[in-house]
Point group: C2
Chain length 129, copies 2
DNA sequence: GCTTGACCTTCCAGTCACTGGAAGGCCTAT
DNA sequence: ATAGGCCTTCCAGTGACTGGAAGGTCAAGC
């Protein structure tokens, strides 16, 4: 299985797969022609990585999670800790974004949005009333 | 007013102010010794930028907003459009993050987090049940 | 056997908005 | 004169890719 097939199978761009090899997340085999060759195991690893990334885990967390996944003597506490810390980071982001959203919603609502210059959005950015 | 005082007045790091000059957002004066010199107008501009950034506007939006702010013949519609598009982007992010959060919360809740290897988090990442 | 086009390879640069650090000049006080 | 605390510029790194250039390989068709 070469890289475009692996890309199709995992729904990851080929570029991303090469990048994951670059940073040592996966180590595909190489054919005599130098082409990467992906086994079922590699595809499973890539799928795992794609899912972890889709949950927003940073790549370094993904590296740790993949190592734990492959370690039969792992403690689930180690996995849970990574997930919980990431959950905390996400919750913080949501809180921040929600505050921005509420402010912006209010400003957009109160702005006439016509051809006159008067604008509560700019007023709000220029003075802290 | 030199850069460290401007930094204190605007709560922006000096590095960030230099960066804003680099990319042409502001153009402080220069003293005979080459030091940057910030007027009240510059401080107002920096404060404006800091507030816009705090609402999550990308720097290029901030550039546009600053130009509109300084244009007395602006149409508030132009400002509103930028804000509304940014609001849409934020709402999309919140939606994505909320989905991640819900999944992660569920997984963290169902993981024992002890010294045994069995782990619903890893199970979920390795198969799509 | 040759060409064509679709693969594959590596490497370099760019994204976004800073941030850290090095190397060196300037200013004030002692 | 020296110490320290400013200031300057420039280069490199962050995270996670992404785009593109330059060139090698492969399979199909003539």
């Amino acid at each position: 299985m070469n890289i475009s097939q692996a890309a199709e199978a995992t729904h990851l761009p080929a570029k991303t797969i090469r990048y994951y090899e670059d940073i040592g997340l996966i180590t595909p085999d190489r054919g005599a022609n130098g082409y990467r060759s992906f086994s079922d195991t590699h595809i499973h690893q890539l799928t795992f990585l794609a899912r972890a990334r889709a949950l927003g885990f940073p790549v370094e967390d993904c590296r740790s999670l993949l190592a734990l996944w492959e370690d039969r003597k792992r403690a689930s506490a180690d996995v849970r800790k990574i997930a919980q810390e990431h959950l905390g980071a996400i919750e913080t982001k949501i809180t921040d974004l929600t505050a921005m959203r509420d402010t912006l919603r209010h400003l957009v609502k109160t702005c006439a949005g016509d051809d006159r210059p008067d604008c509560p959005i700019l007023n709000s950015l220029s003075s802290s009333d």
